[in-house]
């Protein structure tokens, strides 16, 4: 079942190869069908999932037996949540890719390939398979930014590629070092975890291995000072790609921390916890300050995204059950919220052909219900209670309070700043006297609402009933916390 979910998009890409380029509608329809089928498979997995058990839907067969590499897919609660987010945002991004009218076929082939890689990452339980999906993910994104992007798209695409490749090389070296040092001749994550639990994993060089692996993930997560590829890539990518970059791909970094570095190298993780926490807080405050000073709507969202990933890192570094649960919740929530924001950037850009905040004003009336939705998204982004973002940040900081009190107080400064730039953004775009040039803009349309409303609904649902996903996270987080020796 897992393989079906993961490879359905790829199969769709293969089917697309035989569709003529001119049939743009058919291309889109086929892509949507395969993405929907894959999402349906994820849904079936979620229905069949038992929160009380560990790894489920296991598929474990030798892949490269000489190197002890297995094709090993399985889901636990963490994987399941991430698969759900990926499937949902994939579908929504594909709907939002309506504006891609040049080389549509190639775009969707790459998009489907990317979706397979992302789904694969979140359920790979073999380190080499994980790395494989991790590297496959980069190529389609590179082309999506480079071909369909805007602004300095080639510069941004190359920067994205160089950064993530450096990250993945360093990480691969770390993973290989881990392999050779255990001497257990396995890349299986659960197998290695069992060794960790019984304290039989050698600790020689553990710190170096940890740093190598973590560097790759921090780049992906966009942690300051390794973040500079991110605003460029987010801003210059086409909207559907921005949505996947910010909504799903940045979470790969956090997922990697949880699944690989913290889980398999817990004593090094404890060693560097304070460093990671400080980096997290710097990211929160730095990202929020940088967002405050942006004139470009999309860039504001990009830096806002950087800032929110700081909360995720802080939660993971704190290593308590509350903080890690909060961090995972924040990953999901941020995926929803940043999705909404990028979609809205697209909605407004399509109508005005500008992203300059200072050129907007008084647009509440002209956008139809779009104005209200932008208000909703900004409130979700600033962590308004009863929406999902609040729960994530609240429990990250509540859980980190016992461990990193000073850092939490700095993070609080970030919370005020986050409120600041979101409110100013609303003030600049929606309020004030209506500009002559934006009078009579078309109101938000049905296709745009189809992409936005599910995200809003989930945002409210998760904000009011967070247990709906937190109950599946209980077991994986508990295992991780047990490794880290915390509470």
């Amino acid at each position: 079942m897992l393989s079906v979910a993961v490879f359905l998009p790829l199969f769709g890409a293969l089917v697309l190869l035989f569709v003529p380029e001119a049939q743009r509608r058919a291309v889109r329809a086929i892509a949507l069908v395969f993405l929907s089928l894959s999402a349906l498979a994820v849904l079936l997995i979620a229905i069949g999932f038992h929160a009380g058990q560990g790894l489920q839907f296991v598929e474990d067969v030798p892949w490269m037996p000489a190197l002890h590499v297995n094709y090993f897919l399985a889901v636990d609660g963490l994987s399941l949540v991430m698969l759900g987010l990926t499937a949902l945002l994939g579908l929504i991004a594909a709907i939002a890719a309506h504006g891609i009218t040049e080389r549509t076929k190639l775009f969707f082939i790459l998009f489907l390939l990317l979706q397979t890689a992302l789904l694969g990452i979140f359920c790979a339980e073999d380190l080499i398979l994980f790395m494989f999906f991790f590297d496959v993910m980069l190529i389609p994104m590179y082309f999506m930014i480079g071909i369909w992007g805007s602004g300095r798209r080639e510069y941004s695409a190359v920067k994205f590629l160089i950064y993530t490749i450096i990250g993945s090389v360093v990480m691969l070296i770390g993973i290989l070092a881990l392999y050779f040092h255990t001497g257990q001749q396995t890349f299986s994550i659960p197998e290695l975890a069992r060794l960790v639990a019984s304290r039989r994993l050698p600790v020689v060089w553990e710190d170096w291995i940890f740093l190598a692996i973590v560097a790759g993930f921090l780049i992906k997560l966009g942690i300051v000072p390794l973040h500079t590829w991110l605003p460029d890539a987010y801003v210059d990518a086409p909207i559907p790609a921005s949505l996947i970059l910010a909504g799903v791909m940045s979470k790969v970094g956090a997922y990697g921390l949880l699944r690989v570095s913290q889980y398999l190298l817990p004593s090094a993780a404890q060693h560097f916890a304070a460093l990671l926490a400080v980096l997290g807080v710097i990211t929160i405050v730095y990202g929020a300050l940088a967002a405050t000073a942006q004139h470009d709507f999309k860039k504001l969202v990009a830096f806002s995204s950087v800032s929110h990933m700081g909360f995720v890192l802080l939660g993971i570094a704190a290593g308590t059950q509350l903080a890690i649960t909060g961090a995972i919740f924040e990953m999901v929530s941020h995926g929803l919220v940043v999705g909404m924001l990028f979609l809205l950037v697209g909605v407004i850009y399509e109508r005005t052909h500008t992203r300059e905040l200072s050129r907007f004003g008084g647009m509440y009336a002209s956008l139809g219900s779009g104005g209200g939705i932008l208000g909703f998204a900004a409130m979700a982004n600033l962590g308004l209670p009863a929406l999902s973002g609040f729960i994530g940040e609240f429990f990250v900081l509540a859980g980190a309070f016992t461990v990193f009190r000073t850092e939490v107080f700095w993070a609080i400064l970030g919370i005020v700043l986050i409120a600041g730039y979101n409110l100013w953004m609303l003030q600049k775009i929606l309020m004030g006297p209506e500009r002559e040039e934006w009078k009579g803009l078309p109101a938000i349309n049905g296709r745009e609402l189809v992409t936005l409303v599910p995200l809003m609904a989930l945002c409210v649902l998760l904000g009011l009933f967070p247990n709906s996903i937190i109950h599946v996270l209980h077991l994986p987080v508990q295992q991780l916390v047990a490794h880290l020796g915390g509470q």
Binding site: L161, V169, I173, Q321, A386, L397, H474, Q478
Partner: protein
């Protein structure tokens, strides 16, 4: 009925949902959702109060969230504190919604107004009955959101938009303090349940300094929400919202919920006497400062706004010195009625004359009898003239301050009471009496329709009589066995006499056309006048802080663009120079990078084989 108290907030919430989904189609008829819902909620609220007075209570809690070994339930409590407050909120909100039918008639965004008002009331009622910090905070923020949305109801005016942003942001500063307090308490007690916190904190035997820090962090929330010094600067600007909003949110309910939080968590504050002294001082200073600023305001809503800040200060002073939350709470309840009344009456005037400047009014008594009489009732209550309710609620606070070891608090409070009577006399005389100063405005004036004046009369009854008939019952209901500290006969005499003196002075200065005297007085007291006009320069302080934050943000953004990115690009250029020999590195093709990747992997593998083998 007490077990069904959750229905009370659910009613306005249902009205909100109806407004969102079908409101626009129904035009102004949609407002009846809210009016009917709040009518039912009022009946229910008062019924619950009556039952609670008879000894009934309820605590219902359901599991909500489980994270590891922590379980977070959600629930509500009906006890004397929540029953009294809930009854007040339902009745005041109901009256204000009815009044708004008239006031907002023909507003293009009528539906949005009523939707937000109903969401607000749902939030307020949820906060009142919440049995835990988390639910309370969620409701608290929802109220903040609605306050924001209603301040910028007329969003096309940039100054309204700025006022809304300012309100949200300034209260947010207080909110994060409250959050830190909640986290700190949770890290010790592992609970958000109000009833468990103080015993668990007590059992934890913390250092007094830590307890004081915790209590003060929690208190930061009320400092923002209840507009205490130095976070009071948002409330006067919030008057940009429609006047019923000023009455409901920025006078009667939301701004008072900060005081309510202190009352709700009073056992925690009792563990930290040091924090109570802070609260007392902040309250007393706020009470005096805001009263002094109100004396020079010419906008009738601004006068009332500063008087609200001042009265909230009295409530906090009561929390700080009375040794029980009952004194502050009684002032909260009586203030809600008379201040709600004052704002609605002011709205009725504004509706009639289309200006808020008192200098363009005058002589309106003849034209607007109902509005004038009810406003004056409210003013007498606010001024603390017996037998109106304000006297009975302010007197215990001031006598407790007199009995406390902090005489400064008493003097600030009693001087503030003098100023209160003075500026309210001034406002009444400028508005209702004397010769009309603007003939055009005067001719335009007319009494408001019954839909607006009836709520005035309804609110005027408790504003006039609540103190006389309910003060004793209130005390024995909320704090049985509590003996209020007595400040002695001198303090009581001052509390009675200074407001009367204030009325007298106000009447002498503003009674009969003494314009020349007033101009001369302003000239003589120029520095003081400017100081008050500039609101003690707090706005400038706030602006300066904001510009500093924006400056830092700008520096960070520039640093990011030119330094961090610059280094990366510099390295890239360097690599480009180095790679000119091999060309492949700099041509940007993906194959080249993939090749590099493979090479690097191979090198890494070999290296590791050598070391690890």
């Amino acid at each position: 009925m007490v077990g069904y108290a959750w229905i009370v907030p659910a009613l306005p919430l249902a009205a909100y949902i109806l407004h969102v989904f079908v409101g626009r189609r129904l035009k102004e008829r949609a407002a009846y959702f809210g009016v009917v819902a709040m009518g039912l909620a009022s009946v229910l609220g008062v019924t619950i109060l009556v039952q609670a007075a008879g000894g009934a209570s309820a605590h219902v809690s359901v599991p909500w969230l489980q994270i590891g070994r922590y379980s977070v339930p959600m629930g509500f409590t009906v006890d004397p504190l929540s029953a009294v407050t809930m009854a007040m909120v339902t009745v005041v909100s109901w009256m204000i919604e009815i009044y708004s039918l008239g006031y907002m008639h023909n507003d293009p965004d009528f539906n949005r107004f009523f939707a937000n008002v109903n969401l607000f009331v749902a939030g307020m009622l949820t906060a009142v009955i919440a049995d835990n910090f988390l639910l309370f905070f969620m409701a608290w923020e929802i109220m903040g959101l609605c306050s924001y949305l209603l301040i910028c109801h007329w969003y096309r005016d940039s100054s309204n938009a700025r006022a809304a942003t300012k309100a949200f942001l300034v209260t947010r500063i207080g909110d994060v303090g409250l959050l830190a307090g909640i986290w700190w308490i949770f890290s010790i007690t592992h609970s958000f349940q109000f009833s468990q916190l103080a015993p668990a904190l007590h059992a934890a035997a913390l250092a007094p300094a830590a307890l004081t820090a915790i209590a003060l962090l929690v208190f930061l929330g009320p400092v923002g929400k209840s507009a205490q010094i130095p976070l009071q600067i948002w409330l006067p600007d919030a008057m940009a919202g429609p006047t019923p909003i000023s009455a409901l949110i920025h006078a009667a309910t939301m701004v008072a919920v900060g005081v309510y939080l202190v009352a709700r968590t009073y056992p925690i504050f009792q563990l930290a006497p040091g924090a109570l002294v802070w609260i007392g001082y902040i309250g007393a200073i706020t009470a005096f400062m805001a009263a002094s600023i109100a004396c020079v305001q010419t906008d009738i809503k601004k006068v009332l706004a500063y008087s609200t800040i001042s009265q909230l200060g009295y409530m906090m002073l009561g929390m700080g010195v009375a040794g029980s939350m009952v004194a502050g709470m009684f002032h909260l309840i009586s203030h809600a009625f008379f201040k709600g009344l004052l704002f609605l009456a002011a709205g009725s005037i504004i509706h009639a004359v289309e200006t808020q400047e008192m200098h363009r009014m005058g002589g309106l008594f003849r034209k607007m009898k109902a509005t004038s009489i009810t406003f004056i009732i409210g003013a007498l209550a606010l001024a603390g003239i017996p037998p109106f309710s304000g006297y009975f609620s302010k007197d215990p606070i001031l006598s407790a301050a007199a009995a406390s070891p902090y005489p400064l608090m008493f003097w600030l409070g009693v001087l503030g009471a003098f100023l209160t009577a003075y500026y309210m006399t001034r406002a009444c005389l400028l508005t209702f009496f004397g010769k009309p100063r603007d003939q055009h405005v005067y001719e335009h004036a007319h009494e408001s329709p019954a839909v607006m004046t009836v709520p005035l009369w309804v609110l005027a009854v408790p504003a006039a009589l609540l103190g006389l008939f309910a003060a004793g019952a209130f005390r024995s209901f909320l704090a049985p066995g509590y003996v209020p500290p007595s400040g002695g006969p001198a303090a009581s005499a001052l509390t009675l006499a200074l407001p009367l003196l204030g009325v007298l002075v106000g009447a002498l200065i503003y009674g009969g056309g003494r314009t020349a005297f007033r101009v001369a007085a302003i000239r003589a007291l120029r520095p003081l006048y400017v100081f008050l006009k500039q609101k003690w320069y707090f706005d400038q302080l706030g602006l300066a802080l904001m510009y500093i934050a924006l400056g830092v943000a700008w520096i960070v953004a520039a640093f990011d663009r030119y330094v961090v990115d610059g280094i990366v690009n510099g390295l890239g250029a360097l690599a480009g120079l180095l790679g000119r020999a091999t060309r492949t590195l700099a041509d940007g093709s993906a194959q080249a990078y993939m090749l590099t990747l493979l090479l690097a992997v191979a090198v890494g593998l070999i290296a590791l084989q050598l070391i690890g083998g």
